[in-house]
Symmetry: C2
């Protein structure tokens, strides 16, 4: 019997332009990238999200074709799908958000059906922390592992609720700027300690092309970014990373520091594929062989023998 990974997060229409080109109304959102990354593991992935009347049913069918359970995606007939428009600058590490329309997410307050209340593991994508708490509280048993993502908006607008949910989760996975904003510390080591003290046992700080860091008690683990010839579109990298981590851990059904380290390598591998093409194109069409090959490349990137 496969373990269940429940993923709550956005489904979006993205308009993205980068120095390499642009897309219009491409499928995006945290739940999409995370579930696609998780789909490469042996598990039962479920999405909780909401879409509007303009959603292309072929997009949802595509997710279903990857064995992702989409029955938890609500469709609101008199609203449109979440919309996000952004432009990446030449260095690909900075972007400007040109438009955000919450649309169907304005009143998002999911009520989980029975078969969504027994997740083995839970990925709380970047959303209002009160919704994250609600989804967690609707679980009949506390999942074995809960990961949370958040963003600057909730840090500045909903800090109390965010602090409440931080005490309820196991892993916080945020980027460097968010960690600095939340902690008011420049040093990422100090930022991580601050967030650990807020309640999360494991803190993962994402640094874009520079990789990601894991903090657990007094241990630190770092996975580098994979050097790439071309980053075509960074959208979804962080969500692929999170989905890969949770996918690996859900399949493995283990929660310990060594498993989480290895999960980060899987997550980084999947994220490295995502950014090589626009939107979901690459993360949609991987094979286990391609993933395995890149995992070994990742291992060789950092391994050495200390002679003393």
């Amino acid at each position: 019997m496969k373990n269940t990974l429940l993923i709550v997060g956005t489904i979006a229409y993205d308009d993205i332009s980068t120095p390499f080109g642009s897309t219009q109304k491409t499928l995006g959102g945290a739940a999409v990238y995370s579930s696609l990354a998780a789909s490469y593991f042996s598990l039962n992935a479920q999405i909780v999200s909401v879409v509007g009347n303009d959603i292309d049913s072929a997009y949802l069918a595509a997710l279903k074709s990857k064995n992702i359970d989409i029955s938890g995606i609500e469709k609101i007939e008199d609203m449109r799908t979440f919309y996000w428009k952004a432009k990446y600058h030449n260095d690909m590490n900075t972007r400007t958000t040109l438009d955000t329309q919450l649309n169907a997410f304005q009143n998002f307050n999911p009520v989980l059906s029975d078969n969504y209340q027994n997740a083995d593991m839970l990925l709380l994508g970047n959303l209002d922390p009160d919704i994250q708490i609600s989804v967690l509280n609707q679980q009949q048993n506390r999942p074995k592992l809960v990961m949370l993502d958040t963003m600057n908006f909730w840090i500045s607008q909903s800090l109390n609720s965010l602090q409440k949910v931080l005490k309820m989760v196991d892993i916080v996975c945020i980027n460097d700027e968010e960690a600095r904003q939340l902690s008011q510390e420049h040093s990422l080591l100090k930022s991580a300690k601050y967030i650990q003290n807020l309640g999360a046992k494991y803190v993962i700080i994402k640094k874009g092309e520079h990789g990601a860091m894991l903090f657990f008690e007094d241990q630190i683990f770092i996975v580098p970014g994979l050097p790439l010839s071309e980053v075509v579109d960074p959208t979804g990298a962080g969500d692929s990373f999170a989905g890969g981590i949770m996918g690996f851990l859900t399949e493995k059904n283990t929660v310990d520091i060594e498993s989480i380290k290895l999960a980060m390598v899987y997550g980084s591998t999947l994220a490295s594929f995502t950014v090589e093409k626009f939107g979901t194109e690459n993360i949609f069409s991987l094979t286990k062989e391609k993933i395995a090959q890149r995992l070994h490349f990742f291992k060789n990137l950092t391994q050495f023998e200390l002679e003393i």
Copy 2:
């Protein structure tokens, strides 16, 4: 018999201010940081450099006390020592140079004495590429390994000479912005390929707090930056890194990819100590025990077991 590492580079008076404080007329320069880092290995370190009439003899005596051969440091009686004034900004990754006075370095054109012409390994610190070529050409036998550092000024002002010396060395060690400037490529992978094609077999790209990358043929190795609670003064990090690499390789007397990987871990370890205090304070007063302890911490930062 110990191997000889010849280090050519600046000796400077630095005025540095950071968010943590400031120093006036502290000893600095590439040759100083590199030779101090190298002094923790079993070797004979020699400096080729120049100082002015204002040099504090106690500073040179301090280098000598670390078994560094300072007989190749020329003193010019009617000039002052190289002077550099800079201010680091809050993120510690960016700095503004407020003043640079070449002084004694204006006419630097070293003529090596006999005992400086038989180096086993050679570190060509950031200087006019014509001087780098001259020092290399004065060696009676081509050293077993030559590393070169350079900077934006030489890339823009002396590109022909720089391209000439790049064909003569084994390792180029430069920072990310310099690599991008030299290659006109944003991707560091493409930058490294470009520099490899210019002639250097090994290309090391430094990324400050994000660590460093080694490129050799189609292999890549990455050493992360050590997460620190406080970076007090980044000055000298790159030179300590280079000195640590060359110190390790000179002691080991081996040049191969696995040795260079390990050398980078030593270099990163030494650089991480340098930035924890102002100027040379920390790199001057380390112990082998402290270094060994941090090397093991470094190893744990990135090591994992792939199960497939």
